[in-house]
């Protein structure tokens, strides 16, 4: 038996004679292998329309998603504003060295940006992740369909506003006081609630590094808590009413039903969403930071993308800036792949 298991798979064990003989299908397999490319070609010719349909999409992604990756080579080269990336001189890892261990203000800024990226998205996750779940649980409590639709329509709305509109509103509502105008109305509210001092409000919350993270996280919740609850709400309404009835017969109150019926049912959704969230920890929405920060708040607000934007697009240190983002994005990619692998192992659910 052991010998049978070990025998090559193109041989079949013949019980009657006790010997091996060739698998008749093997010839076909050999044939396919020998003429593999001819076979591929004939398949493509037969279905050529299908492949033609693919072309525009492939070209678009090639030109504007993959060619930039080629430009990434610039991070190994001496930056030059005139020469294309292919003709620039190789400088090895000097850009990376300069960022990571260089004794310059730029290196300090890079480390600060990396730390801020982690901290901002970590806070965003800690406070922003549970909110949609809570909102979905609340939606579930509302029995009247009309009332629920109204709530849903209103709370999804901020998601459809552009980052520019959202940040402009934030800027206006917490603006500093000037000679001719008072501070913004939200600042005023916070002052009257004694959450911030008058001086802080008057000098502008957005000019105070201590408040940037709070502004970022709270505006993120305002923007996404309603819309992101869709997924959880779908999981909750999929729970069969009999589960609740069974729990009620067993004497479960509202909290007990929450704990033993609702939460277990949405746990898999929550896990998947959490893993996705961890995976995209470093892909911070730089547009929002870029529109909210200013020179006063670089200390807490500057993230890697905005750092690259400042040095690479507004400044001329293109090589250094792309090296910075390359590190950020490679770590980010490893997080996504890691998260996806864990999710596949843990719940048999792959995100991609």
């Amino acid at each position: 038996m052991a010998a049978k298991a070990k025998a090559a798979d193109y041989l079949l064990y013949d019980e009657a004679t006790g010997s091996y003989k060739e698998d008749p299908e093997q010839r076909v397999r050999d044939d396919v292998e020998k003429h593999y490319w001819r076979h591929v070609w004939s398949m493509i010719v037969k279905d050529w329309r299908l492949y033609v349909m693919l072309i525009p999409m492939l070209l678009v992604f090639l030109f504007w998603r993959y060619f930039p990756m080629y430009e990434l080579l610039g991070c190994f080269k001496v930056a030059d504003n005139v020469l294309p990336v292919a003709d620039q001189l190789f400088s090895g890892f000097s850009n990376f060295k300069q960022l990571l261990v260089g004794n310059t203000s730029m290196s300090t800024e890079f480390w600060r940006a990396l730390r801020n990226t982690f901290i901002l998205s970590f806070y965003g996750m800690c406070f922003g992740f549970p909110m949609p779940i809570v909102v979905a649980l609340f939606f579930n409590e509302i029995r009247s369909n009309i009332a629920r639709s109204v709530f849903q329509v209103i709370t999804y709305l901020p998601k459809f506003m552009s980052t520019v509109v959202m940040t402009s509103l934030v800027v206006m509502l917490v603006q500093q006081g000037t000679l001719v105008s008072e501070m913004g109305i939200i600042s005023k509210l916070l002052v009257s609630l004694k959450l911030i001092t008058y001086e802080t409000g008057n000098s502008g919350i957005l000019h105070n590094p201590a408040f940037f993270r709070a502004v970022y996280v709270i505006s993120g919740i305002w923007e996404g808590a309603g819309y992101d609850s869709i997924v959880y709400f779908a999981a909750i309404i999929a729970i069969s009413p009999t589960s609740y009835e069974a729990a009620q017969i067993d004497g479960a109150g509202k909290m007990a039903q929450m704990k033993y019926v609702v939460l277990p049912s949405i746990l898999s959704t929550v896990t998947i969403m959490l893993i996705t969230r961890i995976g995209s920890l470093l892909n911070i929405g730089y547009e929002k930071v870029l529109l909210l920060y200013n020179a006063d708040t670089f200390m807490t607000a500057d993230v890697v993308s905005t750092f690259s934007n400042r040095y690479g697009l507004e400044g001329a240190a293109k090589g250094l800036a792309s090296a910075a983002e390359m590190m950020n994005n490679v770590i980010g990619m490893l997080l996504v792949i890691g998260a996806n692998t864990i999710s596949r192992k843990a719940s048999n659910t792959s995100l991609y």
């Binding site: 492949y51 525009p56 709370t155 520019v164 402009s168 994005n329």
Partner: protein
């Protein structure tokens, strides 16, 4: 026993209603405030005397803005980018997603990876910028001088949307397709007469995703569009806001309405089209998110 359950349920329901109401009000308030502030008098806006409803109503902020040609330019440009950007993106997305949804497509796995990899890894701002600059040169050399076309064609591709479409096409039962082929339909006819009608809701969702992201697009439009007359609305708003934060701008301001009002008026104008179509589209969004978000 029964009674106890009812009380706890009632308390829970009251809490839900209260907190949701607070949340909904906080979602809506900034917009209502923006409208009120846009049509209130200068002193009232600058000294926070409006809380909800407008006071000493004036329409000069709106009138001033409507008489500004740059505003109408920006508005038209945004419509242009949204309409053509969505059409172009839907065109290659539907064709590509249809091909990818076919089991008989060779190298299907590799092609999917080609697409999905762009969700995992992006080259970053600087390489993307250099790439767009190079594209701009190429476009100019073939006679496309409008940067608007660069934004329409080269920006806004989203692998996730193509994955959504592909998943929807995979759900279409193959019997219908076979029937169409027996009737002599070509590949393209199968797509237009069977697949597109059968996945109408996903297609609507994806088109709306594209359209919204186009309408709201800011960063690359600002980087790549050099001609002031081609700037979209979002760039226009932001530039005005930056200009407004400049102290000199405030000193030269008039008395009828606050400088804030003109920003609020712009914000209101930029969200009105979304607010108009929003009630009709929001059910599609909910559906699209649930259908395609996670595929097991």
């Amino acid at each position: 026993m029964k009674r106890k359950t009812e009380t706890s349920e009632l308390i829970f329901r009251i809490i839900s209603y209260t907190l949701l109401t607070i949340f909904a009000v906080s979602c809506l308030y900034p917009f209502v405030f923006a409208i009120s502030a846009a049509i209130s008098g200068a002193h009232e806006v600058d000294y926070n005397q409006i809380v909800l409803l407008p006071k000493s109503v004036q329409f000069d902020a709106f009138r001033n803005m409507f008489s500004n040609n740059m505003f109408w330019n920006a508005y038209t440009n945004t419509f242009f980018l949204t309409i053509f950007g969505t059409i172009w993106a839907m065109l290659y997305s539907i064709l590509g997603a249809y091909a990818l949804s076919k089991k008989r497509l060779l190298f299907r796995k590799a092609l999917n990876f080609f697409l999905v990899f762009t969700m995992w890894f992006s080259a970053g701002i600087v390489p993307q910028y250099l790439n767009y600059l190079a594209t701009k040169t190429v476009f100019n050399s073939v006679g496309i001088m409008d940067d608007k076309w660069l934004v329409v064609i080269a920006m806004g591709m989203q692998a996730m949307n193509i994955v959504l479409l592909r998943n929807a096409f995979e759900e279409v039962p193959s019997e219908i397709e076979e029937a169409a082929i027996v009737d002599g339909a070509t590949e393209f006819q199968v797509l237009t007469t069977v697949y597109i009608p059968m996945s109408r809701s996903t297609i609507a969702t994806v088109a709306l995703f594209f359209a919204i992201s186009r309408w709201n697009g800011y960063f690359w439009a600002r980087q790549m569009i050099s001609n002031g007359y081609e700037k979209p609305l979002q760039v226009f708003i932001r530039e005005l806001l930056e200009q407004y934060q400049d102290p000199e701008f405030i000193n030269g301001w008039n008395e009828v309405y606050s400088a804030d009002s003109i920003i609020y008026a712009l914000i209101v104008c930029s969200i009105v089209p979304i607010l108009i179509i929003y009630p009709f589209i929001q059910k599609y969004f909910a559906k699209g998110v649930n259908e395609g978000g996670v595929k097991s």
